[in-house]
Symmetry: C2
Subunit: 376 residues, 2 copies
DNA sequence: CCTCATCATGGTAGCGCTACCACAAGATGC
DNA sequence: GCATCTTGTGGTAGCGCTACCATGATGAGG
């Protein structure tokens, strides 16, 4: 107040400007503060932050030191405002597996908030339903789509993405498309490893439940299973391979068939956790103890795997990391496109893990000998 | 290029300005476009958008018409940049139920993107672990917390929130705290309704599995069960009420106890879906058909309810709507606080629904008569 | 009739950052 | 030796919106 008086006429813009309390957000350091500290211009700081080239190593270090000292964090709002267009990408999903979904969301959310982009989450029941929705989203300014299976395995969906000139990132597709980026795990090798693990436990008759034939990954998992069997010199028996559809219910039916086979398999490897859980339920209904009478293994490591009892031995997919990568890849590609570049679609393979829990063990004598001592 | 030549010196700022292609985001309409269309100033448009007073009704309508005509949507980034501080709220969760979580996330995500605020998702295993995390988040500028149970049922957590001068919204607490806002369903009434529904089916011996004693809602559900029994003139039997902890495993143990009771109950009402699913598994193991030999009902309508077979009859909580409300309430309260107001904590009760699926039916003659024809 | 409050509205200056150019200094080519 | 690139850096002008004043028009009060 006193300032105003001492300065000039009260209505003077100069006085006003001085009087005004800054609207700055809680005194957080800005790029200008960093520049002052590092004795360079804000532009140079900006360049360092964004990892652009053309900055001398020495300068870069000074800037980084200043950033660390002031505990500076860029203001997202300003960034996207100045950066021109706001990036918006859509997360399509029809996957009813809630545990998959929440991991999926968390990964995307985290990355989106880091990159300050908007993510639209779109539920869709079927592929047929997905397509008009995607078209509509694209018209609404969505330039990127994150596609989990089975959407990313459907060529017509991928074609649609190309048609609307959007970017698609496939998360966990069965096989890499030549036209769109993808992040996946090695389904073949993972299924191979799990099968080898079961064989290593001493099992010789291992049932397999195939996943939804719509998803290409299902086939790869089946092949991994077969390869491990062959590698171990075990026969691949048709009666021990039954079709499922990734649902609990289909898993029950498949497990019923498998358990009815004579001699009964001593282990079941299901292509996902829902079907594995169903297999456990069926085994229990038949008064078979898991894992003592029968080993059951799953795939995915969704929440269900550790919810039920016994907890499932399964293959963990790093879903969260996969989605996070997908989002950042989408951003990268969209930005590159705007700059006129059009790189060939990237392929990212992430590591899986075999998570050993309580549902597997070596075949007990009775079970292993089963075929011989009670052939019926 | 030609322009530059024809205009003035190539380096002239005027020429440069003309040459520069606008950085505007894809030609989306701005507040200025709306102002032009509505023949008023951008300020007036801003006032209309933000629902501020002091705008003539006639002007407001013109502005709204212009907004509709141009299909204008405010730019979030610019808004929060100009508006000063960025709102940031944290979503704490320790709930391992993935389906609950994904619903929880979706609701928050949607609302957060609508209001353009940043949501930080923080996983925490225990209440003890949650507290330092929350303190740290608060120091980092988080001013609001969304708290699901059991966090919101813990007084020390609520006290911590007050201490760091943050805002907390409880999502589904057992009882309303006097100091913080909450959004919940009527757990008592919902449990009452479900019990009444089961009684209406003809059941007289209904087992109940209590939830985690840490969560106050557990008690309310129990009370609803008891009230419905009393209302119907049925005895409340101690041996038909067993303690669970909301986990599948605890549900199995509880169901084992319940099924061992003589005469066996013809129905089990579990306080959540995980425990209901476990009850179904136990029933199947005992070769009891669900629902023909025993009815099993759950609570929450998480994904598990419709994953397993038979699908569970359960109480649906509108989790997504609850979280969305929580986020918007947090924003509202934080803004009000900044403006110096401090309203009394709001309480929001949302409607639940009884979802009838495949796991309930009237008691079969054998089961109903059970007590009488085979007393052992 | 002239204050003084009360609307309704407009003007202007940022919010913090990045795009775009300018420009100096050295490297390169002919 | 001079035009031409390259490299590192700085200056400036916004991005779209809102906070803050200023202003003109009205009505109330003396």
């Amino acid at each position: 107040m006193a300032w105003v008086m001492a300065d000039t006429a009260p209505t003077s813009p100069v006085a006003t400007r001085r009087l005004r309390t800054s609207r700055r957000s809680g005194g957080a350091p800005t790029i200008a503060d960093v520049a002052r500290e590092a004795r360079c211009s804000p532009m140079t700081v900006s360049r360092v932050i964004n990892g652009e080239g053309n900055v001398r190593e020495e300068t870069r270090e000074q800037v980084l030191a200043a950033i660390a000292k002031l505990n500076y964090a860029p203001n997202r709002a300003a960034r996207s405002l100045a950066g021109g267009e706001q990036l918006r990408i859509a997360l399509m999903f029809d996957n009813p597996s809630a545990s998959y979904l929440s991991e999926f969301l968390m990964g995307a959310l985290e990355e989106a908030s880091r990159a300050d982009i908007h993510v639209v989450v779109q539920n869709c029941e079927t592929i047929a339903q997905a397509k008009p929705l995607m078209r509509h989203l694209a018209e609404g300014g969505i330039t990127g789509f994150i596609l989990p299976p089975p959407l990313c395995d459907d060529q017509s969906v991928l074609d649609l993405v190309s048609e609307v000139e959007a970017v698609a990132i496939a998360v966990g597709p069965g096989k890499a498309s030549g036209t769109h980026a993808a992040v996946l795990i090695d389904d073949f090798q993972a299924a191979y490893d799990m099968t080898a693990h079961i064989i290593g436990l001493g099992h010789k008759r291992i049932g397999f439940i195939i996943g939804n034939p719509e998803q290409v990954a299902s086939g790869r998992r089946l092949n991994g299973y077969k390869a491990a069997l062959e590698e171990a010199g075990l026969p691949v028996l048709d009666e021990l391979i039954v079709q499922g559809r990734f649902t609990y219910r289909s898993g029950m039916q498949a497990a019923e068939k498998l358990i009815a086979v004579e001699p009964r398999p001593t282990a079941i490897f299901a292509s996902n956790d829902d079907m594995a859980a169903a297999s456990v339920a069926v085994a229990h209904r038949r008064h078979l103890d898991v894992p003592n009478d029968i080993t059951v293994c799953g795939f995915d490591d969704t929440a269900m795997a550790s919810t039920i009892w016994p907890e499932l031995t399964t293959i963990r997919q790093p879903i969260r990391e996969m989605t996070a990568w997908a989002v950042s890849a989408a951003v990268r590609i969209i930005k590159a496109r705007r700059a006129g570049e059009r790189a060939s679609p990237e392929q990212k393979m992430l590591p899986y893990t075999l998570v050993r829990r309580e549902s597997d063990s070596g075949p007990t004598l009775a079970a292993a000998a089963g075929p011989r001592i009670r052939p019926l």
